[in-house]
Symmetry: C2
Subunit: 217 residues, 2 copies
């Protein structure tokens, strides 16, 4: 059997294996899932599974790395954008991305407290660096908004952590087929948060997300 052979759904065997393992880890936890379970669920024998991934922890690392890379990639770094636009666009990309792969987000968050048990130092450092850059980005955007007078004075450190809990924690309840789309939820979150941060009453009332309201541009 070729190692790049595609499965019926168009994924490579390795991708399919990763997708199946992600579902199992999300439902039962990493510790509660054995390589045998993964092999059974994907319909391969265990030797073949080990051909693709030499250990279970390498599967977990691929899932966590993918989630961390996605989150870092969602950061909106346009120096010409206002702080409120940066926050809105980051929120929108985050929620749309989480909704598109709930199980990846679930594994990433559920296993985060234990990764030092499974990962090498380099792997842990990779994930921690991504997490720090997301936190620092959000904090810096809030700080920039305070410095420019766009936002009220506030504790950017604490609010960045609260923001991350509000948005990334949505994997617990966000559903692709829910009554509100991820995009709509991003507008609700951003509107409430940004109305709370923006000083200027006209901006706050008319364009809290930094999007031009027709007729005012």
């Amino acid at each position: 059997m070729s190692t790049t052979e595609s499965s019926p759904n168009g994924l490579t065997r390795r991708e399919e294996l990763l997708a199946v393992a992600t579902k199992l880890f999300a439902a039962r936890g990493y510790h509660g899932t054995r390589m045998d379970d993964v092999a059974d669920a994907v319909g391969l024998n265990k030797a073949t599974v080990y051909h693709y991934y030499a250990s279970k922890s390498l599967i977990l690392f691929d899932i966590c790395k993918s989630a961390a890379d996605f989150t870092v990639g969602a950061l909106h770094d346009d120096p010409s954008a206002s702080a409120r636009e940066m926050i809105y666009h980051f929120t929108r990309r985050l929620l749309v991305g989480i909704a598109s792969d709930i199980e990846r987000g679930a594994v990433y968050f559920q296993e985060a407290p234990y990764i030092t048990e499974w990962f090498t130092e380099e792997q842990v450092a990779y994930i921690r660096k991504a997490e720090s850059s997301v936190y620092e980005h959000v904090r810096d955007v809030i700080d920039r908004g305070i410095a420019s007078g766009e936002f009220y004075e506030c504790d950017s450190h604490v609010l960045a952590l609260g923001y991350i809990g509000m948005t990334l924690g949505s994997y617990r309840w966000l559903r692709p087929q829910g009554r509100r789309t991820a995009q709509e939820i991003a507008v609700e979150f951003s509107t409430a948060l940004l109305r709370g941060l923006i000083r200027d009453e006209a901006v706050r009332a008319e364009a809290p997300l930094g999007i031009d309201v027709p007729g005012t541009a």
Copy 2:
């Protein structure tokens, strides 16, 4: 040995056992902790541990029940209070409570996705009922604020879920000895959120937490 014998720190043996198990579950996960580990850490033999708890899942249920009961107990149900006061006081009680027992909160949140694997139907129903009542309380407070004109129109369902992620998710980074106290963090969270919800410009600027500012009462 008497089953109500106290350990040197003044806890009953059962309380001490629960405290030790909470620390182990928080650090390694429920699945990754064996009853032998609990017995070793508390300095009892396994038979004695089983005397206090007939199964590992009963320990986990006690931890989760305690966390769920605490959260429900923190709900502020004063019909004469404004919606902003209700939200501020709930936030304050929640964060102070989480900071006072980070590991209990960690176990509760980390194991929540898997409790149907370990708990009886009645136990799951108990936890789910507590979670629903917290969500419904927050949503109803926001709805009440919208209905009275205190708050902007918004999606109370989505904002209640975001609020829960922001506040309860703080067990990930809240530390009793951190640079900001739980009380201070509650003020930061509530101020940002409530400034985002409150319609009235004077209330919003002067008393977003519903606390009288000296000189305006």
